[in-house]
């Protein structure tokens, strides 16, 4: 079957989702899988209704969103200028490259012991986990985006008398921004994956906490609801990000 319009594509996606959820519901209702291992979608929905009614779902979602946004915002604010700087300087890239290579593979969870020692069991410690989980990969995206600018354009601008700052403002920044924004969108998703680690220690709210606490009480529906909420929140933020991107980069429309 050929899909040649966006509405057809949407219809296929919706049908696929409906079939997936219905099959899942049927498998659970017919008793093929114990609810402890996989609860039915209706069970997750009823947990969601209960948690919306007592206000817990909203407060957990808001707490995690705040932690991700603060950690990610600070990470981006440091990574963008630093990445552009490194991407346009071979010398400093050579200096910092081994350090970035050492930091990049570290999972956010590995930062927990150090962050606890340095920052204690505070909100800042949770922001720092998101920061550390997203900083190095963001930095690499930005360095690559900066490096991807055609050197001919930079040379041409210099030949025309542009200063280093002018080249940065008029050539490098506008040229690399679409790729930087695309990288940051990917990184925002990664920042959300850090939330479980961030909320493992001394948390009393947040989707990560909700998932881990649900696990302790074998409330698999709560665990899955937390996972679904993370996906939904990332999707909503992605839509907002796209709108922001259209405004910031009108030439990419």
């Amino acid at each position: 079957m050929e899909i040649n319009t966006p509405s057809k594509s949407l219809a296929v996606s919706i049908a696929s989702l409906v079939i997936f959820i219905t099959t899942w519901e049927l498998i659970c209702r017919l008793g093929f899988i114990e609810p402890l291992f996989l609860p039915a979608p209706s069970q997750i929905l009823s947990r969601a209704v209960k948690m919306i009614e007592n206000g817990q779902l909203i407060s957990h979602t808001l707490a995690s969103t705040r932690r991700v946004m603060v950690g990610f915002f600070v990470s981006s604010m440091v990574a963008i200028p630093f990445g552009i700087f490194l991407g346009s300087s071979r010398f400093f890239m050579a200096v910092f490259d081994p350090i970035i290579s050492l930091l990049r593979p570290l999972p956010s969870m590995s930062w927990i012991p150090l962050s606890l020692l340095w920052l204690g069991i505070t909100e800042t410690q949770k922001y720092s986990i998101v920061f550390m989980g997203s900083f190095a990969p963001s930095l690499l995206y930005i360095i690559e985006a900066t490096k991807s600018i055609d050197p001919l354009l930079i040379r041409a601008a210099r030949n025309l008398g542009a200063s280093k700052l002018d080249v940065m403002k008029e050539v490098i920044l506008p040229g690399s921004l679409p790729q930087i924004i695309a990288g940051l969108k990917v990184m925002l998703g990664i920042a959300w994956t850090c939330i479980i680690s961030a909320e493992l220690v001394a948390a009393r709210e947040g989707l990560g906490f909700m998932i881990m606490n649900g696990k302790e009480y074998f409330q698999t529906d709560t665990v899955l609801l937390g996972m679904v909420m993370i996906s939904i929140t990332v999707m909503v933020i992605d839509v907002v990000f796209r709108k922001f991107e259209r405004r910031l980069l009108p030439w990419t429309r």
């Binding site: 609810p35 402890l36 020692l117 069991i121 505070t122 001394a202 302790e216 009480y217």
Partner: protein, 334 residues
């Protein structure tokens, strides 16, 4: 001729008796010689450890493999997933799993009763429970220590949501948090409980004897429970019997020879011999012959567990209170 006939009869009778006893022995031989046990350094696992170290299971033809878990929830999850055969667990995890509807495990004994090796430890500025108002107190959520905190706060009219900050912290992270002053009090259990008490300035605010169900039923906030995977119990009854025998011989050893037991336990707990002996003095072990009265007839412990399940529902920790007696494996109760 008559004599020969008698002699033959006697020999035959003897042979039948001998064969009978051999076949009884054969019938009681464990069907599976390795049992995977889920444990940790918590005192509820001392009998299993002592049984392994002193060869008490081996005596009954069993090799017991001690698998370490940090939390009861992980242990119970592994048990119902089929990775463990037998485990001791904090009963909150077991009740939560019952409430989740799992019928994959059964309970058959409670090895100990402790009340003074778990409690709330506070810094010197906190003299009473009322002083906790406005302070930061830590407890590992979904544990007996958490239940103790909720109960004590309720008894003293404090709301954990409004009157103070209740944080979720693992017991092994508590000494550092108390030392740096990031928390003012915490609820922990041995061996971390002892370490926290030994820190300068810290003191015991309350222990499990202040728990409301302890005052009524002598039941702590998370009594230990021995559980078995249901499928394992059905498939290997002799192995289970042999395990129970070895286990309760270890309990007897802990009662009768604590010093000898402590010598092997320090390898598990990393406590000093002196601290280990102190911990052992604070535990009341429940021997095999007392188990039936607690678990089956009249089932005082099971009644208390039912109350605990209802307490958890009241404090919104679980959705529904399961009928605890439906999870008792009578055939394994010594």
């Amino acid at each position: 001729m008559k004599g020969l006939f008698r002699k033959t009869l006697c020999v035959l009778a003897g042979a039948v008796l001998l064969l009978g006893s051999v076949s009884v022995q054969a019938n009681e031989t464990p069907e599976k010689v390795t049992v995977i046990y889920g444990g940790s350094s918590w005192l509820g696992h001392y009998p299993a450890w002592v049984g392994i170290e002193k060869g008490l299971f081996q005596k009954h033809g069993l090799g017991v493999l001690f698998q370490n878990f940090y939390a009861s929830s992980g242990r119970m999850g592994s048990l119902v997933a089929g990775d463990l055969d037998v485990a001791s667990t904090g009963s909150i995890s077991a009740i939560a799993l019952m409430a989740a509807g799992s019928k994959g495990f059964m309970a058959f004994a409670t090895p100990d009763s402790y009340a003074t090796v778990e409690g709330i430890i506070a810094n010197e500025n906190i003299k009473t429970i009322a002083d906790l108002k406005g302070k930061r107190i830590a407890a590992p959520f979904a544990s007996s220590a958490h239940v103790l905190v909720l109960d004590i706060l309720e008894q003293h009219g404090l709301d954990p949501e409004k009157d103070l900050t209740l944080l979720n912290l693992k017991v092994n992270e508590m000494p550092a948090a108390m030392g740096s002053g990031e928390i003012d009090a915490c609820a922990a259990w041995t061996p971390h409980f002892n370490k926290l008490l030994n820190m300068p300035g810290n003191h015991l605010l309350v222990d499990d004897t202040e728990f409301s169900l302890y005052k009524k039923y002598k039941l702590g906030p998370g009594p230990d429970l021995l559980v078995v995977r249901k499928e394992f119990a059905q498939k290997y009854p002799n192995t289970c019997k042999a395990f129970v025998k070895g286990y309760f011989e270890a309990v007897d050893m802990l009662i009768n020879d604590p010093e000898e037991s402590a010598k092997v336990l320090v390898k598990l707990t990393n406590l000093s011999m002196e601290d280990q002996m102190t911990v052992l003095q604070d535990i009341s072990w429940i021997p095999g012959q007392e188990q039936r009265a607690l678990m089956v007839d009249p089932g005082d412990f099971v009644t208390g567990m039912q109350q605990l399940a209802e307490f958890l529902v009241k404090h919104k920790q679980i959705d529904n209170a399961p009928a605890v007696n439906e999870w008792i494996e009578e055939s394994m109760v010594p």
